[in-house]
């Protein structure tokens, strides 16, 4: 019988609201979870495998390794929040669930980055869009990076396994108006669109995925793989920042962590030392390279932290006569890949079209201008429709990605210059989006840019956007997809990790997150991480146990 009193230092509360809370129930059932903000002494722990990060890569790894009989310990910088906390309010969600209150930025502050920082990582706050890695991306990896085992056929069973595990499904409800206007406008112009698959189970179609799912319908790591690993005896440390791997010879000897206070900003002074046979870095494509840089990980080719990709996003806002109510309903259900396929992958920059959910705080910070101009935009809030273009970086010398370095305090800083090649893609994307919005019946359209007016016809927009000076800071550029920086490649001259996710030069360290990708994906990356990491973690489990890995199934 487990001694329940000793398994967690988090006060167990009854679920708040009408929806059962599986996290509170798990804590009550004896999950081993330590909130390091509450530690009043230093801590030393040992496990078979220590995993840094509890997002897409860490969550999938934790479940497969724990089900395979290994003692797993997960370190998470964010706090453990659950449906009892998820109130569908931006002012609460952004500080609690995102890196830097959802205001993480590149070095020159030109690009705003949305990344999760909570148990479940970005999967707790993403918009549920589920795409397998596009075939053309995998073909490019095979040809350019020697990743022979990353063919659509060889990965298909792993994508299939994770789609089953996370209930990735065709979304049965009709798209909301925000999405449907993309579909209708594109159809008028003969641009094909398709429907987005979603990892949800019993979704209420509310539209608040970005603030943490209040009904536990989203099959994020928070409610799937992490609970499964914890039920199998894994340990979770929250509000613990992985500071550095201590390297001895060709091995990681231990991981040094610091406990963060309840605000998540300052160390409390308590230190945590973690020892294991094997270590997995899965903190995401900014924090994983930064951890490895702080650790002095071997990097003979100078590749670590380089080629960091963002799918830089430019934005077009239209105003419609009818209500669009972009806050209501599944946030992303329609997309178009037409402009990813109408030129070679290594030709002029391609872009994927999607829409974002519209909520007051996010829209208010996104829309340009102030005073009367801004107030006039916000007064149209229910009538606004917004399209995003995700620019596919990493396939051309003009879009080589950015680089992660460390500031004086050891915190990561991402430098991401935007070349004329990328601006060319951005301009074509802004033109495309405006044309689609006018075709869908928009009264006016404006690219989100400090100097762009609200154009009232396609002809006007076409001339205006063609002449718009596209520069960072004046043009709103954002990202929710950080990839690369610890690239895997068949050849050591091209990547710090091998095709098996093992970090070159360190015998007991693997990288299991989006930082492995040698280019961007060209699609929302969550399912790429799930499927690829499922294979990496299964092979690792087999190597560590000498037995075939367990297969996770949805319960």
């Amino acid at each position: 019988m487990t001694n329940l009193a000793n398994t967690t230092n988090i006060p167990i509360a009854a679920a708040k609201g009408p929806v059962p809370d599986p996290i509170q129930a798990g804590l009550a059932a004896g999950w081993r979870v330590t909130d390091c903000a509450r530690l009043n002494a230093d801590l030393t722990l040992e496990a078979d495998v220590v995993i840094v990060g509890s997002g897409a890569g860490g969550g999938v790894s934790a479940e497969i390794l724990a089900l395979s009989g290994l003692r797993v310990l997960i370190v998470e910088e964010g706090a453990l929040r659950s449906s009892s906390d998820f109130n569908m309010k931006e002012a609460e969600a952004y500080p609690q669930l995102y890196q830097e209150s959802a205001a993480r930025k590149t070095r020159d502050k030109g690009i705003n980055i949305l990344q999760g920082r909570t148990v479940g990582g970005s999967t707790t706050v993403n918009w549920t869009s589920s795409f397998r890695t596009p075939d053309i991306t995998l073909a490019y990896w095979d040809k350019q990076y020697g990743l022979k085992d990353y063919t659509p056929e060889k990965l298909a069973p792993w994508f299939g396994m994770m789609e089953q595990r996370l209930n990735v499904m065709d979304w049965p409800a009709a798209p909301n108006e925000n999405n449907d206007l993309l579909r209708r406008g594109a159809a008028k112009l003969g641009i094909p669109t398709a429907l987005i698959r979603r990892n949800v189970n019993g979704c209420w179609n509310l539209g608040y995925c970005g603030m943490g799912c209040p009904t536990n319908a989203k099959q994020s790591m928070l409610v799937t793989t992490i609970p499964s690993a914890l039920t199998r005896g894994a340990t979770l440390l929250t509000r613990a920042r992985a500071e550095r791997f201590v390297i001895q010879g060709d091995k990681v000897a231990q991981l040094d962590c610091v406990a963060l206070d309840a605000s998540g900003h300052a160390p409390t002074g308590r230190r945590i030392t973690l020892r294991a046979r094997h270590f997995i870095a899965a903190g995401g494509a900014i924090n994983t390279p930064a951890l490895l840089l702080r650790s002095g990980a071997p990097d003979p080719q100078g590749l670590l932290g380089k080629r960091t990709f963002l799918h830089p996003v430019v934005i077009s806002a239209g105003t419609f006569a009818q209500r669009v109510d972009g806050y209501a309903g599944a946030p992303q259900t329609v997309y178009s890949d037409h402009f990813l396929h109408n030129a070679p992958i290594d030709g002029p920059m391609g872009y994927k079209l999607e829409v974002p959910p519209l909520h007051p705080l996010l829209l208010a910070t996104t829309m340009a201008g102030f005073g009367a101009q801004h107030a006039a935009e916000m007064a149209q809030f229910p009538h606004k429709q917004v399209i995003l273009a995700l620019l596919r970086d990493g396939f051309h010398a003009g879009a080589p990605g950015g680089s992660v370095a460390l500031d004086g305090a050891g915190a990561p800083v991402l430098d991401y210059p935007i070349s004329d090649f990328i601006w060319d893609g951005a301009r074509r994307a802004l033109l495309t989006m405006a044309e689609i919005q006018f075709a869908a019946g928009a009264k006016d359209v404006s690219p989100v840019h400090e100097s762009a007016p609200r154009y009232t016809s396609w002809a006007q927009a076409q001339a205006g956007i063609a002449a718009l000076p596209l520069k960072l800071l004046a043009t709103r550029v954002v990202s929710a997809h950080v990839m690369g920086g610890c690239a895997m490649a068949g050849d050591e001259r091209q990547g710090v990790a091998g095709a098996d996710g093992r970090y070159r030069g360190l015998a007991n360290l693997s990288v299991h997150d989006g930082s492995l990708f040698p280019t961007s994906i060209g699609a929302n990356p969550q399912l790429s991480i799930y499927g690829i990491v499922a294979r990496l973690a299964s092979n690792l489990a087999q190597q560590l146990t000498g037995k075939p890995a367990a297969i996770p199934v949805r319960t």
Partner: protein, 174 residues
């Protein structure tokens, strides 16, 4: 209202002043482990002057309601700043510290008298100038103020009726 004034066009001298202003500010605020943001003295006057210009017509006309709205958004801006990493809080502190220095206020922001006496049009002209400024540092300062203030305004449920947003499902509120 938004015509650029010659004194707002910063040349090399202005850039030097910017550096000198930062140095002067740092002299009086020696480096230490990053601390949480504090809205002290003149910084409070800076924010109080910028808020009405950034928010414009969304502020209520009635004096008491207007003051209550300004008090509310001030406290939300502080809360938003406190949600940022300490290093970023320090940058915001430096921005307010710089704006509070009289030479920077005059030459960088173009506000001649004190912030307490600044006319709304004068503050709006300053914001418009920084918004389009060729110095990236001033553009980022404008954008930080834009995001902190306008984000904090619309974070508040009482502002939602004004933009036709019904708010999240009441049944699921805790």
């Amino acid at each position: 209202m938004t015509t650029r004034r010659s004194f707002l066009k910063i040349g090399a001298a202005g850039a030097l002043l910017l550096a000198a202003g930062g140095a002067a500010y740092r002299l009086t605020h020696p480096p230490a482990a990053p601390q949480a943001f504090v809205l002290d003295g003149e910084a409070g006057a800076v924010l109080a002057a910028i808020l009405p210009a950034m928010l414009g017509p969304v502020l209520p006309a009635d004096a008491a309601a207007r003051q209550a709205a300004l008090d509310g958004v001030t406290s939300r801006v502080l809360g938003a700043i406190h949600g940022l990493p300490l290093g970023t809080q320090k940058e915001v502190q430096d921005l307010f510290g710089l704006l509070a220095l009289a030479p920077a206020r005059r030459l960088l922001a173009g506000v001649s008298g004190s912030w307490r006496e600044a006319a709304p049009e004068q503050v709006a002209a300053f914001l418009e100038n920084w918004r389009h400024h060729r110095l990236g540092m001033l553009q980022t300062a404008y954008l930080a103020l834009h995001d902190l203030i306008l984000g904090s305004w619309y974070a508040e449920p009482s502002t939602w009726a004004g933009i036709g947003y019904p708010g999240p499902l009441k049944e699921l509120q805790k």
